[in-house]
């Protein structure tokens, strides 16, 4: 099967928080089973943009968008789209690890349980598979019934990734997933991202230039709500076209 070059697309996307114009005329297409990184200074709109792909901004008063977001060619802001169904297809990992105050097992199977799956065998298998995919199985296999809150920050974040994987999405959005973690945990998450792109389309927001360089295939640079430059990561980091990109990558601002 050939890879789709437009698993996720934004077409003429504008976003507003009340009067504030947060995203301006964004056009982008992201490749399937690859890692796309969004970089840019704080407040440039990259997180807002990421959250339009699973409609996480819907609950913010005064937020609205114009234009289209397409997942597999389908506009996810159309009226007949069910947001909860969409989010089973587009999983998310947040900046701060946010496991539920439940056991490790309950955390991983949460997404399956709310879909009405009750078969213990299916749940247990899904739990093990997801934890293995998230490279945390060996650390937690003996304490699945212990509270997830007892894990370290890095383990919690991998648990959250396992939780997202359990519902078998095709896209995973990651909002600075390693920024709250120590360097070793952070490196583990990066390795994990690298492994996961075999099966998943990953979009990651990061502040960390080296991280973007290491894990991503494509990089998009945002500045003041605009998509300034979008290219293969290697190309962008070696020969950026726009001076703003160059300034940001070389650390002159941000």
């Amino acid at each position: 099967m050939t890879k789709k070059y437009s698993k996720l697309e934004a077409i003429n996307l504008d976003a507003y928080y009340g009067d504030f114009h947060a995203l301006k005329g964004i056009n982008i297409a992201m490749e399937e089973k690859a890692v796309t990184a969004f970089i840019g200074p704080s407040g440039c709109g990259k997180s807002t943009f990421l959250r339009t792909f699973n409609r996480m901004n819907d609950y913010i008063d005064g937020f609205r968008i114009e234009g289209q977001i397409l997942l597999d060619g389908r506009d996810i802001y159309e009226k007949d789209i069910r947001v909860d169904e969409l989010r089973k297809e587009v999983g998310m990992v947040f900046q701060k690890p946010n496991p539920f105050p439940k056991s490790i097992y309950e955390n991983v199977v949460y997404g399956l349980k709310i879909q009405g799956i009750k078969d213990k065998k299916i749940l247990q298998e899904a739990c093990e598979t997801s934890l293995q995919q998230a490279a945390i199985w060996d650390e937690v296999k003996d304490k699945l019934d212990k509270s997830a809150l007892a894990l370290s920050g890095g383990q919690q974040q991998r648990l959250c990734i396992a939780r997202a994987l359990a519902i078998q999405p095709s896209v995973i959005l990651m909002d600075e997933p390693a920024s709250a973690l120590d360097p070793i945990s952070s490196a583990k998450i990066e390795e994990l991202i690298y492994d996961l792109k075999k099966d998943y389309t990953i979009v990651i927001v990061t502040h960390n230039m080296q991280q973007a360089g290491r894990v991503s295939d494509h990089t998009a640079f945002f500045y003041m709500g605009e998509l300034v430059e979008y290219a293969k990561t290697k190309t962008m980091f070696t020969s950026p076209k726009d001076t703003r990109t160059q300034n940001y990558i070389t650390g002159r601002f941000g």
Binding site: D61, L86, N98, F100, G111, I114, C160, R163
Partner: protein, 291 residues
């Protein structure tokens, strides 16, 4: 300047001290009068006898009928207030717009500002006749309508405290639930309510404590017949109602009959004291979970 500071400090200390002093002396009066009561009526009799007839010729001093009456009205009140209060809390938190919430929350608190005597008459003159239209056996004074109206009165207490507890759950947990494809309902019941359960429990305990001590509504609408029953359709008497009845009557001071109200008051105090401490303890034990 320094003298002024000292005076102010002294005044502040005094007002704190007076509050404590008053509390202590209330407990002292309750205790000393109760001790006199229990020197004449044994505590075993007080706790095990099945009738409460201290004002009759043949005196019985079993507190159980009064406790049963209090228990019954309280259970009915909580059965009304908990589902409604919790539903309101969840609605305000998960569904309502921020603007609607700022408008409706103070409005709900108005329920708590209605004088309880008004609630009492509402129970007696509106709710009871209404219930009688489809519950034929319902007496004019009964635990049911008093309990229901008491429940309405404590709805804002439960909804407000539960709402606070739910909104204290970190936003990240709600986002996690939504991010997994939860509907609003699944988010509310699967994640937010369990995460806020200690706060909700505290709100319920405080509401129980309020219902146990409530006087006016039950005095007006529930009757004055101490009866060891869990039947909500007949007249009963609560601990508080009994105290009102004797306080307003012409029982001579210092008599055994008079002292019964202190024993009853002590019982009531023990209940509310335990409940309040329980809620305090739960709050302390589970509060730090998310810090």
């Amino acid at each position: 300047m320094r003298v002024q500071e000292k005076i102010i400090e002294g005044l502040l200390w005094l007002s704190a001290a007076i509050t404590i002093l008053i509390t202590v002396s209330i407990i002292w009066v309750l205790l000393s009068e109760s001790v006199k009561f229990f020197s004449e009526v044994s505590i075993v009799r007080f706790l095990t006898e099945k009738e409460w007839t201290p004002l009759f010729a043949e005196k019985k001093f079993g507190i159980m009928p009064l406790v049963a009456g209090t228990f019954l009205t309280t259970v009915i009140a909580i059965a009304v207030a908990l589902p409604i209060g919790l539903t309101i809390a969840i609605y305000l938190n998960e569904y309502a717009h921020a603007r609607f919430k700022t408008f409706i929350k103070p409005l709900l608190e108005v329920l708590a500002t209605i004088p309880t005597v008004v609630y009492g008459f509402f129970a007696l003159t509106v709710v009871t006749p209404f219930l009688q239209s489809f519950i034929p056996g319902l007496a004019g004074f009964n635990a049911l309508s008093a309990g229901i109206v008491m429940g309405i009165m404590i709805i804002p207490m439960i909804s407000s405290l539960s709402e606070d507890a739910i909104s204290a759950v970190p936003r990240s947990l709600r986002e996690a639930a939504y991010g997994m494809g939860s509907t609003r309902l699944q988010t509310a019941f699967g994640v937010m309510v369990p995460a806020a359960s200690s706060g909700i429990l505290v709100s319920v305990i405080l509401a129980i404590s309020r219902a146990v001590g409530e006087t006016m509504i039950v005095a007006i609408a529930a009757g004055q017949q101490p009866r060891l029953t869990l039947n909500p359709l007949v007249p009963i008497e609560t601990i508080t109602t009994y105290i009102v009845q004797v306080s307003l009557g012409d029982v001579p001071h210092g008599s055994l009959e008079y002292r019964t109200i202190f024993a009853a008051g002590m019982t009531l105090f023990v209940f509310t004291f335990l409940l309040n401490n329980l809620s305090f303890w739960i709050k302390k034990k589970y509060q730090e979970k998310y810090d």
